[in-house]
């Protein structure tokens, strides 16, 4: 149904995987303040041990693996969502200071803080009387 599409989109362009599970696109919120960019991704079933973040040149890839997605010895009676891994790729601009990227995972949500490089922050220019 339409609702299912809204909830989890399958990632058809995900990299080839060895694992035999489907890959979905995690929903993200992106917001910024004057110091950093924040990226918050919903990846239920993922904890800090099963998330992979890679930054290669300008390309940021976030990968979440769901281990133990299936409950053992249980039969499915009614299913509205599928269980699978997550992957999403972003292109970063040069504004980000790569060495200071901070990532935390809590309750299945990955939160990335991407600090802006010094030279890009808005600077106040002092006006001297001439």
């Amino acid at each position: 149904m339409v609702e299912k599409d809204m909830q989890k989109m399958e990632n058809v362009s995900a990299t080839e995987r060895v694992r035999n599970v489907k890959t979905f696109v995690p929903r993200v919120d992106i917001f910024e303040n004057k110091d950093s960019l924040f990226l918050v991704a919903d990846m239920p079933g993922v904890d800090e041990k099963t998330v992979d973040i890679e930054l290669e040149k300008n390309v940021l890839t976030i990968n979440g693996r769901v281990e133990n997605g299936r409950i053992k010895d249980a039969t499915m009676m009614y299913s509205e969502y599928e269980i699978g891994d997550y992957e999403r790729v972003f292109t970063l601009s040069d504004e980000i200071d790569r060495d200071k990227i901070v990532a935390t995972v809590r309750n299945g949500v990955l939160r990335l803080e991407l600090p802006k490089a010094e030279k890009v922050k808005p600077k106040k220019i002092a006006i001297k009387a001439a």
């Binding site: 989890k8 918050v40 990846m43 239920p44 499915m76 009614y78 969502y81 309750n107 299945g108």
Partner: protein
Amino acid sequence: MFNPSLWRFRRYSNAMPELLNLQREMNRLFSSVGQKSPEDYPAINILEKDGAAVVTAELPGIDPEKIDVSVSGEILTIAGSTLQETFAQGETYLRQERGLGNFKRNIQLPFQVNSQAVEARYEKGILMITLPRIKENLPKKIKIK
């Protein structure tokens, strides 16, 4: 002309809820294409394990104190609110895809549950509720002589 369908109706007299369900689905299909209807969040899976129903829902990033799980007879209710990002001055959203707001969902279970023995766990953003059946209602094997 009408006879075969009437006959079928009488045979499967509990087709009515299915028809109503179909009607509801059709309404949903035509009315709010692309919108999530409020009764649908969160998506749930219902499994059966050892005579108990296990309901799982994906609820990432929710404060477990803010999730309300209650059981009454055959109906399980899950309600709560998603964490709101507090924005200081000068913060703006560049992209907003995750759900925000309150949710409440009633789920009809196929059997009565023992509300004292219900357990709920919230791990890695997945809420898992185990609802054991009332023992007296378990199907009894009847020997055929």
